[in-house]
Structures are given as C-alpha cells and as structure tokens.
Symmetry: C2
Subunit: 336 residues, 2 copies
Amino acid sequence: MVNHSRLGEFDLIREYMRPLTLAASGAALLNDDAAVLPTKDGHHLVVTMDTLLSDIHFFENTPPHLIAAKSLRVNISDLASMGADPAYYTLSLSLPSDGEFKYDADWLSRFSQGLAIEQELYDITLVGGDTVSTPGPLSITITAFGWVKTGQAIMRSGATVGDLVYVSGTIGDAWLGLSALRGNFLELKPPSLEFVTDSYHRPQPRLDLGQQLFGVANSAIDISDGLVQDLGHICRASKVSATIKTCNIPLSGPACMLVADNSQLINSLISGGDDYELLFTVPKKSDKTISNIAKKLDLPLSQIGLIGPSNLNHSVTIHDEEGTEIDLTSAGYQHF
Amino acid sequence: MVNHSRLGEFDLIREYMRPLTLAASGAALLNDDAAVLPTKDGHHLVVTMDTLLSDIHFFENTPPHLIAAKSLRVNISDLASMGADPAYYTLSLSLPSDGEFKYDADWLSRFSQGLAIEQELYDITLVGGDTVSTPGPLSITITAFGWVKTGQAIMRSGATVGDLVYVSGTIGDAWLGLSALRGNFLELKPPSLEFVTDSYHRPQPRLDLGQQLFGVANSAIDISDGLVQDLGHICRASKVSATIKTCNIPLSGPACMLVADNSQLINSLISGGDDYELLFTVPKKSDKTISNIAKKLDLPLSQIGLIGPSNLNHSVTIHDEEGTEIDLTSAGYQHF
C-alpha cells in the first residue's frame, strides 16, 4: 500500500538529510535499517519523543527553518529538564500528498538547513528516521536521545513539602507571540513583536541550567503546556500541592507593558504554554545556590511559589497581587 | 495551538499505555518529560524509526491489535536485520479528530492490549511517547531501541563479489495477503487465505537469525520494500551488483499454487514487499554454516543468487526459469 510513485522523492529527501548525519559514524549515512551508536560509560540514556503538526503546533506558512528549529528544540528542552546532554535524534517526516506540492526541493533544502543550524547549536546529530506521504497535514516526529550521569537525572516526582518553586527566564512571551501571529496585540511595536514571535518560534532549551540543577533541585519540568498545568504535573507526580503568586511571575518588557494595561492578561500568560523554560523546586536552604547559578548562567531564576502538603487534586493555588485566589478553571482555562 | 479540549482524552490514553511501561523503571510510568534508561556494557545502541499511516500502511478497518502488532514488528524487524536484541520503544499516536471518534476507549484498549502481547513476545518495553489530535489519518510512529555487542552489527554495506545471496522463510505471502484483503485471489481457500493475510498483518521479525548471522553474513537487510528493491539497497550500499533466479525464490504452498496457474505472478511476489524476511549475503565457504543455522532455527534459508562486480547502477538482474532476463521496470514496477 506504499505510495511507490513517491519513492523517488523520498530518495531526494534522503539526499537532503544525509549531510546531517556526518557527525555520527554509526548512522552510516542513513543507509542502514537502523543506526548503531556508541553508549557513554557511567551514563544513562535519556529518550524523549514529540510530534508537531502543521496548523496545530505551528502555522502552515512558518518558514521551514523555524519549523525545524521548533521541532528539535521542544525535544531538546525535554532533555534539558532531566539534566541530560543531547546526543542524537531520529526524524519522521509525513509530507502532504495533495496536488500542489508545497513541500518541494526548496522547502526541504531550507528545512534541512534549519536542522543543520540547530545541530551545530545543540551538538546533536541526525541518526535515522522515516519519510511517508500523507493525505493529512505536514507532521514531524522527533525522538531525541541524550546522556545523563547515572543517578543524576532530575524527575518530576521529587518535589517536597516546603520546597521553593522557581522558574527560569520570563513567562508568557511565546503565548504572546502566538497571539500576535494570530493578529492580536497589534499595539506591540516591531522590536517587541519580533521578540515575542521569536520566543514562540525558537524556544531556548535550558540545557546548562538543567545540568546545574543536579543535587540542588528536587524536581524539574520544562514548561510546554503552561506554567500552571506543568506545575500541576509536578504536584501530581510528587503527591504535593503548590501555591504561586502572580506578582512573582517573571515577565519580559513587552509582557509587563501589556499586563499594566490589562491585569487579567496574567492568567493567559501563566497558562498559555510553549515557554520551554524550566520550572523546578528546591529546598529552602538552597536559595543562595540558585542565585549563584543564575549569576553564573546570566539567566533570571525567579522564586514564584511554595510546595505544600498533598491535597485531593494535587492542585496549584494561584494568588493575585491582593492575595485573592484566582480560579482559572472558571475563567475557561480547561487545560489544567 | 494545542487542541486543549482533547487533553482529557490524552490523559485517558496515558492510562491505557501506562501498564505497558512497567518493565522499565526508567520510564517512570510515562510521568516524566523523558525516559532514563540503563545502557548495556560492551554493547552499542541500535535505533530505528518507522511511521505507519492508516490506508497507506494498513487498512483503516484493521483490528487494533493487528495495527499494534504490525507497527511494532516492522521496527523490530529492522533491529533483527542488524543482529540486535530489542529493548525499548517510544510511540507517537496521531489520532483523527473528525466528528465520529472511532478511536475511542474500546479501540485504545484493544490497541494497547495488542502492544502488550507484542511486548511479551519480543521482550520490548514502552518507555515514552506523545499523542496528538490530527485532521489527517491515524498515524503511528515508533522508535525502537536494541542492543548489539560492540562491533557485531551487520550492515547493508558489506556485500562482497562472489557472495551467495540468501533469504529466510518464503517470499510474497504478505503481498498476496494485501491483494486478498483488496478482494483479489478469491480462489484461495480459507486456511491459505488466513495464512497470507496473517503474513501481511503479523510479519515475523527474524531476531534469532539476525543474531546468528554475525561473523557469517557480510551484509543483511530486512525485506520491507520488496526483495528486488531491498537487494538493490544492499548493492548500492556495498557498490556491487546481484543476479537472482526466480526458480530459486522460496514460495509457500499458496504462492506455489498461484504461480503454477500464472507464472508472471512471481514478478509481483519478488517486488511486492512487506515480507520482513532477512535478505543476506555470505561468502561461498559459509554455505554449510547457513544450512546448520537453518536446521538449528527450523527456518528455511534459501540461496537465491550471487553478488557480482559493481556496475553503473549497482543493479539487480533477474533470470526466469529459462534463464531469460526479466525487466521488471518495463512491467510497471517503478519502485526499485
């Protein structure tokens, strides 16, 4: 049932992808059924997989190098949250088979060039994959592998009552970027507009931070679903609850400006997702260590809340500036 | 842009998949961003990835446990062709989001039960993955990992002039099964019909054979595209050519019967694909070793041809029973 008429095209795709495998001799230039890769003594293998679909996870008209960047970075961010060091990835491309073939040689060339840039940035190498023709939308599945020193992976499940909740960078910029791409927040001036859309297109996996957090953080996660939802994931895995204060949420200049005009916007910023910042919990005694890491990495690390005892829903309580509890569910935020 | 209204459903999916991870403590019950897995001393990691789409790689109405079987087995077959031992896999499910949700709890339950059976059979464990909602067809991407003793992987690129070409099992049954599912070969009686459709639905990865071939075979590949096409892959990777004789192709009872009625059918059987038998080349002196392996494994291993010197296209020449060369390309077989 394979669409054999497209196999010639798939050979073409392989030609574009082949140069990306040069750093991994075991990938045998995508010639074999599988890649054969050396392991790393004293390390565990860390594996993550994410699928991105056109018009669900990125806009169809997104430049190919940015689709490549996002597809790879959301996976690298998962590795970062575990404290792992990226090594390899496999890529499955499902290319739309509709008449007008917009995923042509030019698109593939720009997509593979985008991957090449990311590989250089994050020291990760393509080692295999698959390409199929689909009547559905463009779909990109990446499985990424990294190494973490044995016993040094940071899990979601280690949060402890009394832990301080920290987050890296600023929150909500990617959601603003997505909203701007949809035609909202037209009051944003060009540099701010570029900043938020770039935050959406090119998340910054916090690899250095993840690797510094071993022995310091009790739990960590990268923010993909939204700060509140992902803190909920930590709470459920760790069987604890959490309280955060919106006034402690770190915001970028553009986000600050918009929240100053509309204070309700903070609710969207903390539940919009796609931040790919690290959210982590540390024992109270480690707050000095965290400020040292922040200085060393030149990366803001903000304390936004506290871990409390288990409650029925392992839930996250949010307080606004006046200390009033915010109920995001009633505001239509179903996704946590 | 995530379809948040479906996240509840995805939690449900996770509930079905969670029990499949029990054998891998590092998968942390699908709770974490990534799985943390032990490596194996003295072994290399073998990685393969395949995507299967509804109505391209399987019929939409295929029972879910058979979709599970095929999706996993085509990947395990890639591991088998390298001589690797299966260990883990990740799974990305893209579930159609159309109104009538046929991929409901019942479907998911039967799909995950199918995976559970395969896991038991092949000693492989789910360690992570992703689930997305798609406007396209059901799509299943699996990345499978195995271990091979360092330096003992068998590649496509080792075929040497003078090598004998061997194939395991029988060829063309899966293609007959696919054709039967499309309503052809109605002359096949129930037991034969079941045999060929089962060959299509549940390929038998030749793991034991792959592991026996180290030190014996110079090259190996599993037959997914078709015997002739996959032999072409070996030729191109090894910079050699090959000649095979159709009278040496091992056929099952049902295939024999059909070829007796229509001798042209052999061309479809050797180019139809989906066999997932191993195709491998060995030096002439090893023919005795191969018969011993065949006896030991109780698996037919048939010599079907010879490796010759490189020619321009690294091509495969096919001779029929009378020794006349068959030109499959002119017969409309574009896919090699």
